[in-house]
C-alpha cells in the first residue's frame, strides 16, 4: 500500500493548518508574486536598449558565476565534509569547526579584503617589495574568476554544513552496509554516498547559487556586470521599474527552472532509512601519508576562506581602531543580535509550518507554490525591500487613517517606521535559508511513524510536536543558526528598511567601506565575525552531538 495515499485519507481537505500555511505562503511570497506579474506586464520601454547592449554580458557573467561558484563550493564542501565525518587524522576536531567559520564573513567584506591584500598598496605586494625590492608583481584578482573564487570560499560552508549533517546521521547504515560488503572508502563515497545525499547537496548548492545571484556589493566593486547590475541600472538610471521587475522575474524563472529540472531528473526517488537508531560511525584510520593529504585538503579552504582574511582584517583593525572609537558599536552589536534571534525564530516557525502542511497534503500544486514562496532569496535585497515595503505601507497608511478617525493623533508609521517591518522583510528574504535544511530534514523522516500516529488518530499538533519536531531537532538548529549568521551579515534590506538611528554591525562596516575606508571598516567586520563564531560553534556542537547521541 502506498503510505502517502494512506496518510492523505486521514487528513481533512481544509483545516486550520492549511489555512495558516496558505496565509503564511501568501505573506512570504509577496515580493515573488509581485515580481512574477512583471512577466505579464512586459519588459518596459528600455528593454530594447538593454537587450542590445547589455543583456548578453549579464547572462554570461551570471551563468559563469553561478556555475563556477557552485562547482567550487562543492569542491571545497563535499570532500571536507566526508573526511571529517569518516576519517581520523590529526586536527580533525578543530577543522570540523573551522570549516564552518568562513560563513561568518560577509561576501563583500571578503571581496574587499582580498582586493586589499592583492592591490598595489596591499600587504602582499608590500612584503614582496620590502623583501625582494621588486616593484611590479601584479596579480589582478578583480575579475569574474576572482569573484568566483572569493564567493566560493565565503559560501562553501553551506554545502559543508548540510552535507556533513547528512553524512553523520542519515546514511550511517548505508555507509556501513557498503563497507561490510567490502567497498573501499572512495567507492562507497562515489557510488553510495553521493547519489543518496543528493537532496542535501541540492539544498546546499541552491543556497550558494541564490547568494551568488543576489550579490551586489562584490560584483559592483570588481566591475562585473551581472543580472543584479542590470536590475539596478534599469531601476535607478533608466527609471524603468518595469524593466527592473522584468529582469528580476527572468531571474526567478531561471532559478525555478533549475529546481524543476533537478526535481524531474531525481524523479520520485526518495531515500529514508526505516531504522532511526543512531550509532557512532566507524571511523577509518588511514596511513600517515593519506592522513597528511586529508589534513591538507581540509585545511586549505580554512586557510583561504577564513585565516587569511581574518588576519588581514585584524591587521587593519589595529591600525584603525582609533578612528572608529567615536562610533557606537555596542548598540550595533545589540541590534544585530536582536534581529538575528528574531528572524531565525520566525523563519524556522514559518518553514516548519509550510513543510509540515506540505507533508500532510502531499499535493504537487501546494509544494510548487511553497517552493515559489521561498525563492525571493535569489532576488537582490533592495528589490525585496521595495516588494515588502509596498504592502506594509498600505497597512500603515490604513492604520494612520483609523487612528485619525478616532482621535487627532498621528501614530506615525507603525510597521515600516519600526523594526517590526524590518523583521518581517528579513523573514521573507531568509525563509529559504531555513527552508532548505528543514526540507531535507523532513525528507529523511520516514512516513511510517506518521502513518502509525495517523492510524492512532493522533491529531496534527501532537504529530508535529511529538514525532516530527523531535526528529527534526538537528535540522531546526541548523536552520536557525544559518539564518542567525546570515542576518549578522545582512546589508541591503536593513539599510533601506531600518528605522531612524538604527545601526547594525553590517551597516556600520558598509558605511565605512563605501567611504573607501576599508581599514576602518575592518573593526565592525571583525566584530561581525567574532559574534558569528558563537552560532557557528553551536552549529558544530549540534551536528556532532547528534552523531554521538
Amino acid at each position: 500500500m502506498n503510505p502517502i495515499k494512506h496518510l492523505r485519507y486521514h487528513s481533512k481537505p481544509v483545516n486550520f493548518w492549511l489555512v495558516a500555511a496558505v496565509v503564511a505562503m501568501l505573506l512570504m511570497g509577496t515580493p515573488v508574486y509581485t515580481i512574477l506579474t512583471g512577466l505579464l506586464a512586459g519588459p518596459g520601454p528600455y528593454w530594447d536598449h538593454l537587450r542590445k547592449f547589455l543583456l548578453t554580458d549579464y547572462i554570461v557573467n551570471s551563468l559563469i558565476l553561478v556555475v563556477g561558484t557552485s562547482g567550487l563550493a562543492l569542491l571545497w564542501g563535499i570532500p571536507t565534509a566526508w573526511f571529517v565525518s569518516t576519517t581520523r587524522f590529526p586536527g580533525r576536531k578543530m577543522l570540523e569547526l573551522l570549516l564552518i567559520m568562513p560563513l561568518s564573513i560577509p561576501t563583500y567584506i571578503m571581496a574587499f579584503t582580498y582586493a586589499g591584500i592583492f592591490d598595489y598598496t596591499g600587504s602582499l605586494q608590500n612584503i614582496i617589495r620590502n623583501i625582494f625590492g621588486v616593484k611590479v608583481v601584479l596579480l589582478d584578482i578583480m575579475n569574474v574568476y576572482g569573484v568566483m573564487i572569493i564567493m566560493s570560499l565565503a559560501l562553501f560552508p553551506y554545502v559543508y554544513v548540510i552535507a556533513r549533517a547528512a553524512f553523520l546521521t542519515k546514511f550511517r547504515s548505508l555507509i556501513e552496509a557498503s563497507q561490510t560488503l567490502g567497498a573501499f572508502s572512495t567507492r562507497t563515497f562515489f557510488q553510495v554516498v553521493l547519489p543518496v545525499s543528493r537532496p542535501a547537496l541540492v539544498a546546499g548548492v541552491t543556497l550558494v547559487s541564490m547568494e551568488v545571484l543576489n550579490d551586489y556589493g562584490a560584483v559592483k566593486y570588481f566591475g562585473i556586470p551581472t543580472f543584479t547590475t542590470g536590475i539596478f541600472r534599469s531601476w535607478f538610471s533608466y527609471e524603468d521599474v518595469q524593466a527592473a521587475v522584468y529582469l528580476s522575474s527572468l531571474l526567478l524563472l531561471f532559478v525555478f527552472m533549475i529546481l524543476l529540472i533537478e526535481k524531474k531528473q531525481r524523479g520520485e526517488e526518495r531515500f529514508y532509512s526505516a531504522a532511526t537508531a543512531e550509532r557512532p560511525l566507524q571511523m577509518e584510520k588511514p596511513n600517515k601519508v593519506r592522513q597528511l593529504i586529508v589534513l591538507t585538503c581540509c585545511a586549505l579552504p580554512v586557510i583561504f576562506g577564513f585565516a587569511i582574511p581574518v588576519i588581514q582584517l585584524a591587521w587593519w583593525s589595529i591600525s584603525s581602531y582609533k578612528s572608529v572609537a567615536h562610533i557606537d558599536l555596542i548598540a550595533a552589536v545589540g541590534n544585530s543580535f536582536m534581529l538575528a534571534v528574531g528572524t531565525a525564530t520566525s523563519c524556522v516557525v514559518v518553514a516548519v509550518l509550510l513543510l509540515f502542511v506540505g507533508r500532510m497534503k502531499n499535493s504537487k500544486i501546494y509544494n510548487w507554490f511553497m517552493k515559489l514562496s521561498t525563492m525571493g532569496y535569489a532576488i537582490p535585497g533592495a528589490v525585496v525591500a521595495i516588494g515588502v515595503l509596498m504592502p506594509l505601507l498600505l497597512i500603515d497608511k490604513q492604520l494612520i487613517s483609523i487612528f485619525q478617525y478616532f482621535g487627532e493623533i498621528d501614530p506615525g508609521l507603525i510597521l515600516t517606521g519600526t523594526t517590526v517591518g524590518l523583521l518581517f522583510a528579513l523573514t521573507v528574504r531568509f525563509l529559504s535559508v531555513a527552508f532548505n535544511p528543514i526540507e531535507s530534514g523532513f525528507e529523511k523522516i520516514g512516513y511510517s511513524l506518521d502513518e502509525v500516529a495517523s492510524t492512532l488518530r493522533a491529531n496534527h499538533l501532537s504529530r508535529l510536536t511529538r514525532i516530527n519536531l523531535p526528529l527534526l531537532k538537528g535540522a531546526l538548529g541548523t536552520a536557525a543558526l544559518l539564518v542567525f549568521v546570515d542576518i549578522l551579515k545582512e546589508l541591503p534590506l536593513t539599510l533601506i528598511l531600518r528605522p531612524f538611528n538604527f545601526n547594525t554591525l553590517a551597516t556600520r562596516s558598509f558605511e565605512l567601506a563605501s567611504d573607501e575606508q576599508i581599514a576602518a571598516a575592518a573593526v565592525p567586520s571583525i566584530i561581525i565575525i567574532i559574534t558569528g563564531l558563537i552560532p557557528v560553534y553551536l552549529l558544530n556542537a549540534l551536528i556532532t552531538k547528534r552523531s554521538k547521541a
Binding site: 528600455y46 536598449h49 547592449f53 554580458d57 582586493a115 598595489y120 598598496t121 596591499g122 605586494q125 608590500n126 616593484k135 611590479v136 601584479l138 578583480m142 575579475n143 566593486y221 570588481f222 566591475g223 556586470p225 547590475t229 541600472r233 538610471s237 533608466y238 527609471e239 591600525s319 584603525s320 578612528s323 567615536h326 562610533i327 536582536m338 528574531g342 516557525v349 525591500a385 521595495i386 515595503l389 509596498m390 505601507l393 500603515d396 494612520i400 506615525g412 519600526t418 523594526t419 517590526v420 523583521l423 501532537s462 510536536t465 539599510l495 533601506i496 531600518r498 528605522p499 531612524f500 538611528n501 538604527f502 551597516t507 558605511e511 565605512l512 567611504d515 573607501e516 575606508q517 581599514a519
Partner: protein
C-alpha cells in the same frame, strides 16, 4: 507537551522584546515632537556625525538619521508619500536632488540665511535644494611619466597617445554619470558619445574598483592617467597606511578645461521634504550646515570644497590653488543622467 509550551513561551517573549523598545522610543518621540529633525541621507562621513552632534548641542533639536543610497531613499519617500517621516533629504549628487524635485518629493524654501550663505550657482533657482559642499572631478597623472600640459582638458583624454594608459571606475558610478551629463550638456550627445567611445578605447583595463583604486593603479604603473574626485586624494594622503600615502604622493592633479567651460563639479546638498513633519527644524538644520563653522568642518575633515565663500580650505586643497569650475546649471546633471548612462552602454563603458 511541556516542551511545546515552553517553545511558544520563548517565541512570545521574543516577540514582546522586539516590540517594546520600539514603543518606548515612539512615545518619547511624540512628547518631544517639536525637538527633532528626521534625516534621509546618502552621506555617511565622520564629519557629518560631528556636525549632527554640534547641532543637537546648539539647538536642542535631535537629529534622527537613516542612511542609504539616494536612489533607495528617494524610492522610500515616493512610496511613503504624505506619511513620510522624512524632513530632509541629503544626497552626494545634484542630479539626484533634481530627480527628487521632479518627482515632487521636495518643497521650495525661502531662507535669507541660505541665500546669503550659498552662492546662487550652488542651489536650485526655485529653492528646492541647496548645495552644501562641492567636489571637482579631476585628472590625476603619474608625476614621473606625464607632462601635465599635454592633458589640458577632458577632451584630451581621447588622444590616441594615451592608449592603454587611462584609468577610471565603472559607469555604474554616479560621479562618472554626472561628468558625462555635463559633457552632453556642453557639447551635445553626439560628441559626448564620441568622447566616451574614445575614452573606452584608451582604457588601461576594464573599469573596476573605486576612485582610490585608480590612484593606486597609477602608482603601480598600470596606467598613467586617472579620473577621480578631489577628496579621495586628500583621504589617501591622510591614510594610516604609508603605502597609500606614497601612492598619493606619486600623482599630480590637473584641473581640466581651465581655458574653456571649467572643471566639472558636483554638489552634495540637501532639500526639505514635501511632507516634512518638522519643516521649521529642517530649515534650521540646513541653515546650520551652511554656517561658517559647519562649512569649515566639511572642508577640514572630509577634504570637500565648502560652498560658502571665504571658508578656509584644507591645506591640501589650498595648495592646489583656486580653479575655474564649470558653471553649468547643476540641475542639468539630473536632466541628462539617463542619456549619459545609455550612451555609456552603447560605447561599452562597463
Amino acid at each position: 507537551m511541556n516542551s511545546v509550551k515552553s517553545y511558544y513561551n520563548i517565541i512570545f517573549v521574543l516577540v514582546l522584546s522586539m516590540c517594546s523598545p520600539q514603543k518606548s522610543e515612539q512615545t518619547e518621540d511624540q512628547t518631544s515632537a517639536e525637538k527633532m529633525v528626521n534625516l534621509y541621507t546618502h552621506r555617511h562621513y565622520q564629519s557629518d556625525q560631528m556636525l549632527f552632534e554640534d547641532f543637537e548641542r546648539e539647538t536642542g533639536i535631535k537629529v534622527n538619521v537613516v542612511s542609504a543610497s539616494a536612489d533607495e531613499l528617494i524610492k522610500r519617500m515616493e512610496m511613503e508619500a504624505e506619511a513620510s517621516p522624512a524632513d530632509v533629504l541629503i544626497t552626494v549628487d545634484a542630479g539626484r536632488l533634481h530627480r527628487a524635485k521632479e518627482k515632487d518629493l521636495l518643497q521650495p524654501i525661502e531662507s535669507p540665511v541660505l541665500e546669503a550663505n550659498i552662492p546662487a550657482n550652488f542651489r536650485d533657482k526655485e529653492g528646492y535644494w541647496f548645495g552644501l559642499t562641492f567636489r571637482a572631478r579631476v585628472i590625476a597623472y603619474a608625476l614621473d611619466r606625464v607632462d601635465p600640459t599635454q592633458v589640458p582638458d577632458y577632451e584630451s583624454l581621447t588622444d590616441p597617445r594615451w592608449k592603454g594608459k587611462l584609468l577610471v571606475r565603472s559607469s555604474e558610478n554616479i560621479y562618472n554619470q554626472s561628468l558625462m551629463a555635463s559633457i552632453i550638456a556642453s557639447t551635445g550627445p553626439e560628441n559626448a558619445k564620441k568622447w566616451a567611445a574614445a575614452v573606452v578605447s584608451n582604457m588601461a583595463r576594464e573599469p573596476k574598483g573605486n576612485d582610490r583604486d585608480q590612484v593606486k593603479a597609477v602608482a603601480a604603473g598600470v596606467g598613467d592617467l586617472a579620473i577621480l574626485n578631489t577628496y579621495y586624494i586628500g583621504k589617501l594622503l591622510a591614510s594610516d597606511n604609508q603605502q597609500e600615502v606614497a601612492a598619493g604622493k606619486a600623482i599630480g592633479v590637473i584641473f581640466p578645461n581651465q581655458n574653456g567651460r571649467g572643471t566639472h563639479i558636483n554638489v552634495s546638498g540637501a532639500g526639505v521634504a514635501k511632507y516634512a513633519p518638522n519643516k521649521e527644524n529642517a530649515i534650521k538644520f540646513i541653515e546650520f550646515l551652511s554656517s561658517e563653522d559647519a562649512q569649515r568642518v566639511f572642508a577640514e575633515t572630509n577634504f570637500e570644497y565648502p560652498v560658502r565663500s571665504g571658508t578656509s580650505l584644507a591645506p591640501l586643497l589650498e595648495s592646489w590653488g583656486s580653479f575655474k569650475a564649470d558653471t553649468l546649471d547643476l540641475g542639468q546633471l539630473g536632466e541628462y543622467n539617463r542619456v549619459a548612462v545609455m550612451l555609456f552602454d552603447e560605447v561599452g563603458w562597463k
